[in-house]
């Protein structure tokens, strides 16, 4: 006689345990299985969040474990929201986010469009293009620092070759007006392939018969692009923007290695500023309030964005 897996499981269950769960509903058994995961999530996600919110109303400093902790109400929030330096880092983050997303979407989509054409060496080019995103940010940060060197950097020589400007007359990571663009260039170089891959998946998911039908209707290539390609790739593009947006909002390593947040505080993004407040100045209460503000901002923006994404998908 063949024994089913269910019977095997029932036989393997110790009798005592079997008796005790026999009276339980399916829902109760499901809870038993899910509870450890929920407890783990509560311990490593929800508890720290609640603890951070609590600390944000205090003057706590982690480097003074024995000092008195005072409840100071909304003072930390008030100081953050009225601090011009914080707004400057917000602006630097907004500049970085806007330009990296725009460039990565435009270039990534263009590359995906080209790669999607069937041509010889297609696979090889795809591999070459995706190489930068496989590198460690530490490696990328260090070698772009060399590329940007005014004396020996290839980037400066390339610009000099193209424009006849003296290569040592400008410093990409040392000048206020160039440094924000220096970090945008590096992030775009590194992460455009990621956007390209997502776009490529979108392009390849469009069935050929839709284009064939459009051609039968004598739709021009331009018309096909705007009425078939873009609407069908849009959910993929929006997903890429969401991923890159979240990643770049918390960008830290690449920028620290390239500019350290300087010159001045021109490229000090919010995550770098937050780290300095929390782990260099040790203003734990203040940094907690700062983190809560960033969390709420990011959560709000991401929620609105996901709703928009769902609407586009439902269309």
């Amino acid at each position: 006689m063949k024994v089913s897996p269910l019977q095997k499981a029932a036989e393997a269950t110790p009798q005592k345990l079997g008796r005790s769960i026999r009276g339980l509903s399916d829902r109760a058994i499901a809870w038993i299985f899910v509870t450890p995961t929920i407890l783990l999530l509560l311990a490593i996600n929800i508890f720290p969040l609640i603890w951070t919110i609590r600390l944000s109303f205090t003057n706590y400093r982690a480097n003074r474990p024995n000092a008195d902790i005072k409840f100071i109400g909304l003072r930390n929030y008030e100081r953050i929201l009225t601090d011009s330096d914080i707004w400057q880092t917000m602006q630097a983050t907004a500049h970085f986010l806007f330009w990296t997303l725009l460039l990565q979407v435009v270039i990534g989509f263009a590359l995906a469009w080209l790669i999607n054409r069937k041509f010889k060496g297609n696979g090889l080019w795809t591999t070459i293009i995706v190489l930068p995103m496989m590198l460690s940010p530490a490696v990328v940060g260090n070698f772009w620092t060399f590329l940007y060197q005014p004396q020996i950097g290839l980037f400066n020589y390339l610009i000099s070759f193209l424009t006849t400007i003296d290569p040592s007359s400008f410093t990409m990571i040392g000048e206020v007006n160039l440094a924000p663009w220096a970090i945008v260039i590096v992030d775009t170089w590194m992460w455009t392939p990621f956007v390209m891959l997502i776009c490529l998946a979108g392009l390849r998911s469009i069935p050929d018969y839709i284009y064939e039908a459009a051609e039968c209707d004598r739709a021009s290539s331009w018309r096909q692009f705007w009425t078939i390609t873009i609407p069908m790739v849009l959910p993929f593009l929006m997903l890429a923007v969401l991923f890159r947006g979240i990643e770049n909002f918390k960008m830290f390593d690449l920028v620290v290695l390239l500019t350290g947040g300087g010159p001045g505080s021109t490229t000090e993004l919010t995550s770098i500023n937050l780290k300095r407040e929390a782990f260099e100045k040790w203003r734990t209460g203040y940094a907690s309030a700062y983190a809560v503000i960033l969390f709420v901002t990011m959560f709000g923006l991401a929620s609105i964005y996901v709703k928009a994404l769902n609407k586009v998908k439902d269309r």
Partner: protein, 437 residues
């Protein structure tokens, strides 16, 4: 029989004199040349004591972050810590370091035997009181290195004299130093474009502060009213201090290599060793390495203390003391290391290996000044030192200064007066948070 009995007793006595057990000690410090010298020196301690030494060295830009995290979390990684001079207040008040007064008394170690500036800078907290938390371990100070061979070229000497009306020689004032840096900026030497000076401009940790203070002090900057602690207005942002900050910006703008907007110790060393600059601001620890360098070492380089300014003659103190970490499970053995390290013979060898001893018996020895070409400059520089805040909140004070100064000097935002006024506001806020104002 009697002979074998004596041998047995002698054997047992010799064991009784040894430490009860061999310990594994970890010494934490920055990853730099002197640390390698200390590894070499410590082999003698291992041999004599039977303890095993291991080392945790962290590169300077991450040193404070890594080690202060370790101390703040009560970590047991380090038994001995050669912590930066500015950590002394915080580490003493937070209980990270073991107070050493009783130990010094018991072992006959007296702070009178060490250079006074190093005792005040590295060991005392509160400053000016006989409460010791460290033994001065490594004396250091900001000074200058210059290309002696370039200075001695007759054609450059003649041109310089024509232009400035004085000899091309070691500068006595900060104004003269700027003239020399300007003279070399963009000049072709041996077919290569060279620049004036490599100075500290680093933003992330402490670099630009350790550099700019060498100008600020000498133009009249004070950390506060000498008679009223924490009274900052008019001292931190005095007219002299503003002029000092303007001087540093002018020096950066006129006379540094392109791309030097985030330079600290290692970048300055590299620039000097590669023949890119005529002058280099750096801590004295680099001098043994410069002297031994095949490209710029020997007679090709010279050394001089930070030049005087219109408001005085000072140099930024560097260096560290060695402390026993209170969370260590091997405090006895760690104290044994400090006792061994404080000995004159060990300190002499420390100097020979490239470590800057702070023991007076070593630096006041008649043969000291001729022992190395930079020895006299080291002594002259140690006589004019001034240090940054060593308050428990030193990190907040330091980062505020880094931000304000970097924004003005490197990014060119605002004026020197605005930068220092802003610094006063930041520091007052820190002291208010600390309950000191």
């Amino acid at each position: 029989m009697r002979k074998s009995l004596l041998l047995t007793i002698a054997f047992l006595v010799s064991f009784a004199g040894m430490p009860s057990k061999s310990a594994d000690l970890t010494l934490c410090w920055a990853a730099w040349d002197p640390a390698n010298a200390l590894v070499e020196l410590s082999k003698d301690f291992e041999e004599q004591s039977g303890h095993n030494m291991s080392f945790e060295f962290v590169p300077w830009p991450n040193f404070a972050d890594r080690m202060l995290n370790e101390l703040n979390s009560g970590g047991k990684l380090c038994d001995l810590m050669i912590g930066d001079s500015q950590w002394i207040g915080g580490s003493a008040e937070a209980g990270h370091y073991v107070k050493l007064n009783d130990f010094f008394d018991a072992e006959g170690i007296t702070m009178d035997d060490f250079i006074p500036a190093t005792v005040k800078g590295y060991a005392e907290w509160p400053k000016g009181t006989p409460n010791f938390w460290a033994l001065p371990a490594f004396g250091d100070v900001v000074g200058w290195t210059y290309r002696k061979d370039w200075f001695e070229r007759p054609e450059l000497q003649a041109e310089y004299k024509d232009k400035y009306g004085r000899d091309l020689d070691v500068p006595q004032t900060l104004a003269e130093l700027k003239d020399i840096a300007e003279f070399f900026q963009g000049r072709e030497i041996d077919g290569k474009t060279v620049y004036g000076a490599a100075i500290y401009t680093e933003r992330g940790s402490e670099g630009i502060t350790m550099g700019v203070t060498n100008a600020l002090y000498n133009y009249g900057f004070e950390y506060g009213n000498p008679n009223s602690p924490y009274e900052l207005e008019g001292f931190v942002n005095s007219d002299g201090a503003v002029k000092g900050l303007e001087y540093y910006k002018e020096l950066y703008d006129c006379c540094t290599p392109p791309g030097s907007s985030d330079w600290y110790m290692s970048e300055s060393i590299d620039a000097f060793r590669s023949g890119l600059v005529a002058l280099q601001m750096n801590f004295a620890f680099i001098w043994p390495g410069v002297h031994a360098d095949p490209n710029v070492g020997g007679d090709r380089s010279g050394y001089f203390p930070n030049p005087a300014g219109p408001g005085g003659h000072f140099a930024q103190l560097g260096g560290q003391g060695i402390s026993v970490v209170s969370y260590s499970g091997e405090q006895e053995a760690a104290l044994e290391y400090i006792k061994w390290f404080a000995q004159e013979e060990v300190q002499k060898k420390w100097w020979e290996l490239g470590g800057y001893s702070a023991l007076r018996a070593v630096v006041e020895d008649p043969g000291f000044v001729t022992s190395q070409p930079y020895a006299q400059t080291f002594l002259d520089s140690m006589a004019i030192v001034k240090d940054f805040w060593a308050e428990p909140a030193y990190a907040s004070l330091l980062l505020a200064m880094q931000d304000r100064v970097h924004k003005y000097v490197i990014a060119g935002q605002g004026t020197a007066q605005e930068a220092l006024d802003g610094l006063v506001e930041d520091w007052i806020e820190v002291f208010e948070d600390e309950g000191k104002l």
